[in-house]
């Protein structure tokens, strides 16, 4: 059993005019492993853990637009502007599903030790929100690490007014429940319920050569509600559009879209053998892969399963494959989310004409395009992070990605 202990030194700041309560927050996380690379740590739980030590640019300072195509970040932490620039350029130049988030970024320059100037190709109205995506997280220089311990130095600008430290225990679901029941943990990350947004979307990507016959077979048998209900850990819901519905009015329309299941085709005269790649770190993906085996087998598609580490899976994503099952953490804004989805289907060019539209027209166009299926991209379901906390944990909120803000909580005296 691994322990990840974060010790946050006391802050002199005050919140809401109340004095700091202090104390150590004990959290249990139902997680197999944690990635240190933000581009790979993209399940909600992994992103939550990652953000205890790494923060995306939008949380490191104040963002502003001195010009329509210029975004300025003034850092208010001890993070160096050059570190932010390095991170942004690395994400932009590294093949990954999140690379398209920085597609509008023309250049990023550290104009001062605390100022980053970002030049954009277009207006990119969502760019400031995109900078909150966990995959863009920067490791602040004020974190020091020892062998198994990360220490956060005092930084008055960070909103950590209450806790002395956070201890995370990575464990399985049963043990986590027991820890909560025994009051040995106050927060359970990875609970079966939660009210946050569901943005971790899982897609099946097919080789375009498989054609419409495969798409028909899959859509006719996949039964997304059943799949989600029986094989996916909650909170989750079926996903029948290219991007998850968002909370804004236009985004909500996506939740109302439902693709009609085609009729079940006859089995192939000559069965074909396909290899399905999936992420070995995500339990649901193994279950879904087996479900696809069972469902597609009678129709003549014999699926061989190949479990890959996430880094290998992402590398395979850029090449050729028969079938690939992957999850990505979508931004809540429909346009960048659709950009990620289309990049998975290698259909990046579909959004090039949106930049000149007004916000509402742009969103409407995005929603309309996200409602139409792409032949080789099959959205399956979308998940969030279930979080439960004991009563003493106060002020537990979530950010726009549905990730809990553990820094904000304080422990009420019992």
């Amino acid at each position: 059993m691994k322990w990840l202990c974060l010790v946050l030194t006391p802050s002199l700041a005050f919140a809401g005019g109340r004095a700091r309560a202090g104390g150590m927050l004990e959290a249990a996380a139902v997680v197999k492993s944690a990635h240190g690379d933000p581009l790979l740590a993209d399940t909600p739980l992994e992103a939550t853990l990652l953000q205890l030590t790494k923060l995306p640019p939008c949380k490191l300072g104040e963002l502003s637009r001195p010009a329509p195509r210029t975004v300025r970040l003034v850092l208010k932490t001890a993070t160096k502007a050059s570190e932010v620039v390095t991170t942004l350029l690395r994400v932009r130049d590294t093949p990954s599903p999140y690379r398209v988030l920085l597609a509008p970024l023309k250049s990023a320059t550290a104009t001062s030790p605390i100022t980053v100037e970002m030049e954009l190709d277009g207006l990119a109205p969502d760019f400031e929100q995109v900078l909150c995506h966990p995959s863009l997280a920067v490791t602040p220089s004020f974190f020091a690490s020892t062998a198994e311990r990360l220490v956060a130095n005092a930084d008055p600008a960070l909103p950590r007014p209450w806790l002395d430290g956070i201890t995370i225990r990575a464990t399985d679901a049963r043990t986590a429940d027991r820890l909560i029941a025994q009051r040995k943990a106050q927060v359970l990350l990875g609970a079966d319920s939660g009210d946050g947004p569901l943005l971790y979307a899982t897609y099946l990507i097919a080789d375009p050569k498989l054609g419409p016959a495969f798409a028909q077979a899959l859509e006719a048998t996949i039964d997304r509600p059943g799949l989600t209900r029986f094989f996916v850990r909650p909170p989750a819901r079926p996903l029948s559009t290219l991007v998850p519905p968002s909370s804004d009015p236009l985004g909500k329309k996506l939740g109302e879209v439902s693709w009609a299941a085609p009729s079940k085709p006859t089995a192939l005269a000559t069965p074909i053998e396909l290899t399905l790649l999936y992420d070995t770190a995500v339990d649901e993906h193994r279950a879904v892969a087996e479900r696809l085996q069972v469902k597609l087998g009678p129709l003549g598609y014999r699926l061989k399963l190949e479990a890959l580490q996430r880094r290998q899976l992402r590398e395979r994503l850029t090449g050729t494959f028969d079938l690939l099952l992957t999850g990505v953490l979508m931004p809540p804004q429909p346009a960048p989310a659709l950009a990620i989805a289309l990049s998975l289907a290698k259909e990046n060019g579909r959004l090039s004409d949106l930049d000149g539209l007004s916000d509402s027209a742009r969103t409407e166009a995005v929603v309309e395009r996200a409602s139409k299926p792409v032949p080789n991209l099959f959205p399956l379901f979308v998940q969030g992070l279930g979080v439960s906390a004991s009563r003493e944990v106060q002020h537990l909120s979530r950010d726009a990605y549905g990730l809990p803000r553990l820094d904000d909580v304080f422990l009420a005296p019992e």
Binding site: G226, F230, F231, Q293, V294, K295, G297, R302, K304, L305
Partner: protein
């Protein structure tokens, strides 16, 4: 081949015969014995495997009996009809399966649809016909079935033994079909139990195995219904190792025996053949003329000792007899010589006596006168002539008696004959003809061979006498022999003398001593040669003498 080697080889052959015949027979019998023991051991193992198989079926039966009566399964039956199915129903199979050590468990509704599957959760809601068919068999019957599992290579059929139990809730029935897979764990268990390599084959392919394939495997198999076959490969290495050890021991012992046989063969053959070899050597010496050779200093026993004793006695007796014979022959020879010599000496004495008596009578008849002187001269002349004859007889006898051993040296016979013949020239009607083949080499004493030739020529001259004729001398090669031939044109050899012509004092001539040809014969024998005599074929007359000598080797 010498007797010693023959006996030694006989010993070696006997030893090899033992190796060739005894070792394979012993090995074959040993192999049969070991193989029988190995078979018995494998049979015992197979009994254990059968028992383990029965225990496994009984475990499945007991686990499913307990499951069929469990509250948890009753809860599933109660809630199975709820829509949507509650999680405790959809995940029940996996939950119920593990504590009961089952690998396969499917909860099916009355139509065979999967309410929950522990071995393939992805089958939820789908029919599972092979397992549902088990529900139609006799109650509690444990049967082999192929169940579908998810694997990296796709959905695969895996052999298992399963049984079905029904749970009723009101008018609803839920079937639980569960069992264990014949998988790697079972193969490992059987492999540990038996020490054999265990392979599970199904659908024409090996689906799992445990243990290394042993050397010289002994194969057994168990059919699991018609769906699978469990193959066990027991090690025959012990059998091979034992055979190898025994074979090695046999080879070492056989090798030692072989060496001992060789050594013993040589020792015994030497012990046996030494007396025989000594006897052979003694016999050879006796054959070469050494009388009284004794075999002594040779260890012998039994018949060989008796043989040596008998041989020594025999050689003693033979020597005594030979000595006596030689003595008697010597006496006879001396008697003959004395007789011949007396005869030869006696012959001149008569004329001498008569001459002297005539002379005495003449002297008593009156004074010396002319007639007396005539008688005196005639008598004196006769006496002198006879005295010369006596002298010649004595000289030749002396020469015959003192003939030395030849001094052998390479000699060109034709050349030597040519030199002798050059001294002869025609006279008194005698002619000398030499027909010599050049380059005839012999090992010989030049003087003695010259004497032979002179004797033969002289003999020819005397044979022809005053009538004259031709003396023909030839040399010729005849294979490994060289012939010196002297022929005359005289009257030839009378038949009655032919066989005795080379004996001393045998002669057909009035004035001959009878020693010339005897000397020639003796010289021929001293040169490992011989003398032959014959007559010239009619109508011509004459005698032919041949000296036959061995040709000198190396030419």
């Amino acid at each position: 081949m010498r007797l010693r080697w023959t006996i030694a080889l006989a010993f070696i052959a006997l030893a090899m015969l033992q190796v060739v015949v005894v070792v394979p027979l012993a090995l074959r019998n040993l192999s049969r014995l070991l193989a029988a023991q190995q078979e018995a051991r494998v049979d015992q193992m197979m009994i254990a495997v059968e028992a383990e198989s029965a225990r496994l079926r009984e475990d499945v039966r007991a686990a499913m009996d307990e499951l069929g009566q469990s509250q948890a399964l009753e809860d599933v039956a109660r809630d199975a009809a709820k829509v949507p199915a509650p999680p405790h129903v959809t995940t029940a199979a996996a939950t119920l399966m593990r504590p009961r050590n089952l690998d396969v468990l499917a909860l099916l509704d009355e139509e065979g649809r999967t309410l929950s599957s522990g071995h393939l959760p992805a089958r939820l809601g789908e029919p599972d016909d092979p397992l549902f068919a088990v529900t139609r068999l006799a109650p509690k019957q444990v049967v082999p079935r192929e169940v579908e599992l998810s694997s990296s290579s796709g959905l695969v059929q895996a052999p298992a033994i399963v049984t079905a139990r029904a749970v009723d809730w009101g008018d609803r029935r839920v079937w639980a079909v569960g069992g264990v897979l014949l998988d790697e764990a079972r193969a490992t268990s059987l492999s540990k139990l038996t020490g054999a390599r265990v392979e599970v084959h199904s659908g024409g392919r090996m689906i799992t195995s445990s243990g290394e394939l042993p050397k010289a495997p002994i194969r057994r198999s168990i059919d699991v219904g018609t769906i699978a076959e469990i193959r066990l490969f027991f090690s025959g290495a012990d059998l091979i190792a034992t055979r190898t050890e025994v074979l090695r021991a046999f080879i070492v012992l056989a090798g030692l025996g072989f060496l001992l046989a060789i050594v013993a063969g040589f020792i015994i053959s030497r012990r046996v053949t030494r007396p025989v070899e000594a006897l052979t050597e003694a016999a050879r010496q006796i054959a070469q003329g050494t009388p009284g050779v004794q075999v002594s200093g040779v260890p012998a026993s039994g018949e060989l000792k008796t043989l040596i004793t008998t041989f020594n006695r025999m050689t003693d007796d033979l020597k005594s007899a030979t000595d006596r014979l030689v003595a008697s022959e010597r006496i006879a020879a001396w008697q003959e010589v004395a007789r011949r010599l007396a005869h030869e000496i006696k012959n001149p004495l008569t004329p001498i006596r008569m001459s002297l008596e005539t002379l005495l009578a003449a002297s008593q008849r009156g004074p010396v006168d002319e007639r007396f002187m005539g008688i005196f001269k005639e008598s004196a002349h006769a006496v002198l002539e006879e005295v010369d004859r006596l002298k010649r007889i004595v000289d030749e006898f002396s020469q015959f008696a003192r003939l030395p051993r030849p001094s052998l040296a390479p000699l060109n016979l034709s050349e030597a004959v040519q030199q002798v013949m050059s001294l002869y020239s025609p006279h008194d009607g005698l002619r000398y003809v030499a027909e010599l083949e050049p380059g005839l080499m012999v090992m010989g004493d030049r003087d003695q061979l010259t004497q032979v030739l002179v004797n033969l020529v002289k003999n020819a001259e005397e044979a022809m006498g005053s009538t004259g004729g031709a003396v023909t001398v030839k040399t010729l090669g005849a294979g490994a022999q060289i012939v010196l031939e002297v022929a005359d044109s005289g009257p030839g050899i009378p038949p009655d003398l032919k066989d005795r012509i080379f004996e001393p004092y045998v002669t057909s001539k009035p004035q001959g001593t009878g020693l010339g040809l005897a000397i020639a014969m003796r010289i021929a024998q001293e040169h490992d040669g011989r003398m032959e005599v014959g007559n010239v074929p009619p109508p011509q007359t004459g005698a032919v003498f041949r000296l036959v000598l061995p040709r000198m080797s190396g030419r």
